[in-house]
Symmetry: C2
Amino acid sequence: MSLLVVGTVAFDAIETPFGKTDKILGGAATYISLAASYFTHKINIVSVVGDDFPAEHIEMMNRHGIDTKGLEVKQGEKTFFWSGKYHIDMNTRDTLDTQLNVLANFNPVVPPEHRNPEFLMLGNLMPRIQQDIMRQMESRPKLIMMDTMNFWMEIAWDDLIETIKMVDVLTINDEEARLLTKEYSIVKAAKKILEMGPKYLIVKKGEHGALLFNKENVFFAPALPLEDVFDPTGAGDSFAGGFIGYLDQTKDISFDNLKRAVIFGSATASFCVEKFGTERLTGLSQNEVDDRIQEFIDLVQFDISLV
Amino acid sequence: MSLLVVGTVAFDAIETPFGKTDKILGGAATYISLAASYFTHKINIVSVVGDDFPAEHIEMMNRHGIDTKGLEVKQGEKTFFWSGKYHIDMNTRDTLDTQLNVLANFNPVVPPEHRNPEFLMLGNLMPRIQQDIMRQMESRPKLIMMDTMNFWMEIAWDDLIETIKMVDVLTINDEEARLLTKEYSIVKAAKKILEMGPKYLIVKKGEHGALLFNKENVFFAPALPLEDVFDPTGAGDSFAGGFIGYLDQTKDISFDNLKRAVIFGSATASFCVEKFGTERLTGLSQNEVDDRIQEFIDLVQFDISLV
């Protein structure tokens, strides 16, 4: 198995109703690869940081089986920094500060030995960079998944549409699905997006769960009802990481297996939001993961036999 | 089997982004009993209307197996009327007009032969009236379920708390659960509400589904993703009607059977919102209901075996 993850590795400073952090480890590729590490073991990341990025973070990733050969460290430059504050409903947030730093001129180069991944996960990045990564592949991966966000719909529409055409799975949130299609109904939006190229669409609805669509089927997984959502940062990326990590482990890209992957992704995301940043995603035990999956089974499974 | 339904029978005038209606048939007891009629056949309603209420509506209810002996027709008075307008998200609405009419002095009397129901459903009404109905029962029903709303939390708090203590299942929406407990987290709110008396709590989240809690378990059922939610009026009542109708059919009030009842309730509600008012709930076929249940099974069921 092999999974290539491309995306940001960053510093975040987060404020929620439960407290605030100084600069802590963040970034889409960080969350995705940590989440995937509970399911698969040959994970390579491609990203960039500055020389202010502590070696201990890289060591932690390596302990999780994440190969950081593709993580470029730019001397004399600083790591991408984002700071935000969540409102009480945790579904909305204000960005307080964004410092692109090394990300301003990010031209990722995939190390030659990592250009044949079976699974490719493109974290949220400028669509043109996501395209460029796909073009660096020596052979077409078994499955390519991409995340994106409303920002690119506003400033890079044509590039985004071109990029979406090239992938197998698109993952976006409900508001972004509406923005991308001008359809209020998520079902109608999903139909339009599946006409744009991807075989599968995942619509993330935060605390309201996630929907998986292909042209024939729809599957829904709830978010686990938690006493407190402590910090939603990284939940979507943890979902994506658990999802694609499970696919890389099982190699099965049937709709039935993608359904299972959605459950594994949801379980991983439910851990992520229990503490600030990546804290909960470092050092989970197999038992904790299994128990959480069982909680999802108990939450939604019922037994009705139609006669 | 026998189910007693108490609640409003009304006229509604509804405006949604898809159109508007003149005065059409509405009311909690109407939706509840029509929804229940797809699952059980001995349904008695207690309500009140004015002499402006058309006989054809009563005949339609009778055709659905609903006994209207407890439906008082007050001569010289008018039926309760509500008018509202939904916003584009269909989760919020403005009340344009409310004319209490016959409801202003509603003192329901349950016909003597209907005072031993196995299941009692108290639609949203003044809490003191809901209590009064319970006191008219000759023996305690197997299960009592009540619906209520934020309005009573604002003007009849003590009565409401007293009423909640007396029932087995409380059904409210997420905002009302928060208002009732001063807890933002639905999980925390549920714990507090289950301390207040009811054995079961159903938290309705509209298009985001419904949660069933008891002290030990939680179960989640999504709303069916629809191309268009045409008119959400009566969705919550249709859910309650499908839920309690299924319980009355099966007589099983275990948590496992309540889970099934939530699915039957959700399926019934998913029909309700497809057309204006009660239109879709009159004349569904058994095949349509079965197919819809199958859609719910397909929507959420997955197969994960933990080893």
